[in-house]
């Protein structure tokens, strides 16, 4: 069920009405579990059973871990949980990818092997809910979370429908405490949630789908060489599209959760105003970057080790982050590129951080511009269907095809330029703030008019039902 569909609107109205008309806290939680499984099962009912089995296993493993006396046995239960979750993810998401690469490797040594094509359907949102669930056992092992006694509560924490299929990756430790007792709705919370849902849908259906996706798709699927202007505009269109698509989903999720009385953390914080790549990853897909930081980077030693090891850690983390996004080498290259950006930044910071010119406005602006450009270059690998496309795009961007084709219409170019400029302006003006502060500072009539404008624009797009990009992950 897509947020940008009439089905979801009807579903949400029914769930919210039923939720707030029930007084019993347990009954409300039961309702949310049922609603979440209907939301998920509407894609493919059997996958709801898979979701439940993963959740139930982690619940049981978490319990066993907390009961285990010695460190060794706790470790065994943790390894069981990690293996169970990752093997599930590995089978559904990486099965064919691994087989194809195995075939390629054998061919290199002269062995011809034709692997069977596994007709595996990827359960929607498996990467997200696996991490929701895995965070539970990891936090119990780390002694930062006590296991819950209620299977129903844990099932709800993993499957809570606003964040189930495309994030944010809400850790069980963040959500379970909210299930202990009902949170009273604060003044304006429900309507603020609705405004956030409107904003999220506006980002998705108007800015991502209507203004940018057509141009990005046309550029990335064009089979011929393109001139630099069209290549750069295509990449900038995708940079905007993926931000508005994913940030839009996260904003909708936060808004929907607020309407039901739950609080989810920000997943994006104006990332295209980042100065440097560590700043970028503190602003982009925050729930994934903090997950990788806490459960991978810090346990690897983080930055408390020798510089070479710290750099290696960064590359390992970003390699796995890339692979998390998709079973293709292009995603791996995207991750490695970001890993190398982080390493280079670390080196540059070590060399120049204390120079007087490092903190000037000009340097910061140049740093922001360089960060945006480098992030755009990395997006080429994220969006390209294969390395041939990526090479052709990069060739176009760096002047390799001066006599290439120019395929974008003036209207498309204007749309990309205006939306990108507006996006970067908003990100820079709010880079040290947040949406709540911005709304408080605005005159009320502007907030009201903006809200009405966004709602009208959504209606005018007429329920464009493109799936969210991150559903495929």
């Amino acid at each position: 069920m897509l947020f940008n569909s009439l089905t979801f609107v009807v579903f949400f109205v029914i769930v919210v009405a039923a939720y707030w008309s029930i007084h019993s806290w347990n009954a409300r939680k039961n309702l949310l579990v049922i609603a979440s499984y209907i939301f998920y099962g509407a894609w493919n009912p059997p996958f709801a059973a898979l979701l439940f089995s993963t959740t139930a296993m982690d619940f049981w493993l978490g319990r066993q871990m907390s009961r285990a006396k010695g460190r060794h046995s706790r470790r065994v239960w943790l390894v069981a949980s990690v293996c169970m979750n990752l093997s599930m993810l590995g089978f559904f998401k990486y099965g064919n990818f691994l087989l194809l690469n195995f075939q390629w490797l054998l061919a290199r040594i002269g062995v011809i092997y034709q692997p069977p094509h596994l007709d595996i359907l990827l359960p929607v949102g498996i990467s997200f809910y696996t991490f929701h669930s895995l965070s539970y056992t990891l936090d119990i092992y780390r002694d930062v979370l006590k296991p819950t006694k209620s299977l129903r509560d844990f099932v709800l924490a993993v499957s809570f429908f606003p964040q189930l299929v495309a994030g944010p990756i809400v850790r069980a430790g963040d959500f379970l405490p909210q299930l202990v007792r009902p949170q009273p709705l604060r003044e304006g919370q429900f309507l603020w949630g609705l405004l956030l849902m409107t904003l999220g849908l506006f980002e998705k259906v108007v800015l991502a789908d209507t203004m940018l996706s057509g141009s990005a798709d046309r550029i990335f699927t064009y089979a011929g060489p393109l001139i630099a202007l069209d290549s750069w505009l295509g990449v900038m269109a995708f940079a905007g599209q993926i931000f508005f698509d994913f940030a839009g989903y996260s904003t909708c999720a936060i808004g929907a959760a607020l309407c039901l009385g739950f609080h989810l953390k920000d997943n994006f914080r104006f990332p295209y105003a980042a100065i440097g790549f560590s700043d970028f990853w503190r602003r982009w897909h925050i729930s994934l970057s903090t997950f990788l930081r806490d459960y991978l980077y810090i346990p690897l030693g983080g930055n408390q080790v020798r510089p070479v090891r710290a750099g290696t850690n960064l590359v390992i983390v970003m390699f796995l982050g890339g692979l998390w996004h998709g079973a293709a080498w292009t995603f791996v290259v995207w991750g490695l590129l970001h890993g190398s950006y982080l390493v280079v930044e670390r080196v540059l910071r070590g060399l120049f951080e204390h120079k007087a010119w490092a903190g000037t406005l000009t340097t910061r602006l140049l740093g922001g511009f360089a960060t945006y450009a480098a992030v755009c270059i990395a997006w080429v690998f994220f969006r390209a269907s294969d390395f041939t496309v990526a090479a052709r795009m990069l060739g176009g961007m760096f002047g390799g095809h001066p006599h290439g084709d120019a395929i974008l219409s003036t209207r498309e170019m204007l749309q990309i330029a205006l939306v990108t400029a507006g996006m970067i302006l908003v990100h820079w003006s709010l880079r040290d703030s947040n949406i709540e502060t911005a709304v408080m500072r605005l005159p009320r009539w502007i907030t009201t008019a903006t809200w009405a404008f966004m709602a009208c624009a959504i209606i005018l797009t007429q329920g464009n039902s493109n799936a969210f990009i991150y559903f495929q992950f």
């Binding site: 069920m1 569909s5 009439l6 089905t7 099962g41 509407a42 894609w43 493919n44 470790r75 390894v79 990690v82 936090d139 780390r142 930062v144 979370l145 430790g173 963040d174 405490p177 003044e187 304006g188 309507l191 603020w192 108007v206 209507t210 057509g214 089979a223 060489p225 936060i254 607020l258 609080h263 953390k265 930081r293 806490d294 459960y295 810090i298 346990p299 690897l300 084709d405 120019a406 974008l408 219409s409 003036t410 209207r411 204007l414 749309q415 947040n434 709540e436 709304v439 408080m440 009320r444 008019a449 809200w451 009405a452 709602a455 009208c456 624009a457 005018l460 797009t461 007429q462 464009n464």
Partner: protein, 386 residues
């Protein structure tokens, strides 16, 4: 234990990741903040919400009234879900109409039901190639009914990856993979589409309106030709009918659509990045492959007792000249009949079918479609040996 082994073991402890207790600092950073509460801006939310609701209702109503005043009326959208609902109605012995928009606009289901004894299922789609649907029916082992296939040569031989193929393939794919949510959306959307005139996904969306902006393009920009505006309605059985404004001879709408067909039916420019000879060979190979694929699908269908007839529906004016010049009868129509051994009905060959005029050069008016269907029935019965 020798030190080398102990070093090795230490190195092997790579998933030290999970196997050590977090430090105090890590617990602070990595540990869950149990009391996270989002800030809520202190604003007069109720008043603002009422204002927003009133503005949205006023704007939507004004837009609806304006759209109706310039000739738009409510109709269902021809999307994959509506097609899927029609596909679900196909029974083993059904009569099925497939192909392009001429099979869609020019056939009247009531007349065909009277004349053929069964109500046909309408699976033709505007601007689409017939092959993916034909292949889908051929691969459906339960189906052994009758297929009436409209042939517009340019669409019939559209190569893989082209919009006519994509359009049909998307619909076929949806019919096999439709989720419960998509099916629910279909049922929820239909009543709205039947009552709201501004719901026109091809035209009156924000994207459609932006496309209409008169902004000049670079001389080399590749811009897709414009699609025709709203000129027909669609019901739940997917029966398409031309609206009166378009059917009126010499109407502004009909004349506008006539001018839109010309670039749409003209061959697209060859890509600049492939040598012309190579491109021509690729196209030739793709067309030959299409004939082979169609013949194979027909054979499969007939082997189960299914029947099929190809029909060339009327077209007129400058479009007739263009189509006959670019896709001459001998090149596509004659060959498809020869390769498949399927009977064909070419409207020109029969005086009772040849006298119709298409107001916008490509489709019959709703009234003419009834008469045309009535006259087509005897020919269909002969061709299908009914």
């Amino acid at each position: 234990m020798p030190s080398s082994i102990s070093n090795f073991k230490r190195r092997l402890r790579l998933p030290r990741l999970f196997f050590r207790k977090p430090t105090e600092i890590e617990t602070i950073h990595g540990g869950p903040p149990l009391e996270y509460v989002r800030p809520i801006p202190p604003l007069p939310w109720r008043g603002m919400t009422v204002a927003v609701v009133l503005i949205v209702i006023a704007a939507a109503s004004a837009w609806e009234l304006y759209c109706r005043s310039i000739g738009y009326g409510p109709t269902l959208h021809d999307n994959e879900d509506l097609w899927t609902s029609a596909r679900r109605r196909v029974k083993p012995e059904s009569i099925v109409i497939i192909g392009d928009s001429r099979g869609w606009y020019d056939l009247d289901l009531d007349e065909l039901q009277k004349g053929l004894g069964k109500r046909p299922v309408q699976l033709a789609m505007g601007g689409s190639c017939a092959y993916p649907v034909l292949a889908d029916l051929a691969n459906d082992k339960t189906f052994h009914g009758t297929v009436i296939c409209s042939v517009v040569p340019r669409l019939f031989i559209a190569p893989p990856g082209s919009p006519p193929m994509d359009h049909a393939e998307k619909a076929v794919r949806r019919s096999h993979t439709q989720t419960l949510a998509q099916r629910a959306s279909e049922y929820l959307d239909m009543p709205l589409e039947e009552h709201v005139a501004f719901l026109k996904p091809e035209e009156l969306t924000l994207e459609g309106l932006l496309k209409r902006l008169p902004i000049p393009n670079r001389p080399c920009a590749l811009v897709s030709p414009r699609l025709p505006p709203y000129f027909g309605t669609l019901d739940r059985e997917r029966r398409a009918r031309m609206i009166e404004e378009c059917a009126r001879p010499g109407s502004e709408l009909a004349r506008m659509i006539q001018q839109i067909w010309i670039p749409l039916f003209s061959p697209p420019p060859a890509p600049t990045y492939i040598p012309k000879e190579q491109f021509a060979k690729m196209m030739g190979d793709a067309i030959n492959q299409r004939f082979k694929d169609v013949a194979a699908a027909v054979q499969k269908l007939r082997a189960r007792g299914g029947k099929i007839v190809f029909v060339r529906f009327p077209y007129s004016g400058e479009l007739e000249k263009l189509e006959d010049r670019e896709t001459p009868r001998a090149g596509i129509w004659d060959r498809v009949l020869k390769d498949t051994g399927v009977p064909g009905i070419y409207y020109e060959d029969f005086p009772d079918l040849a006298g119709f005029n298409c107001p916008e050069w490509s489709h019959l008016s709703a009234g003419d479609s009834v008469e045309f269907s009535k006259r087509l029935i005897p020919h269909l019965r002969v061709a299908l040996e009914m």
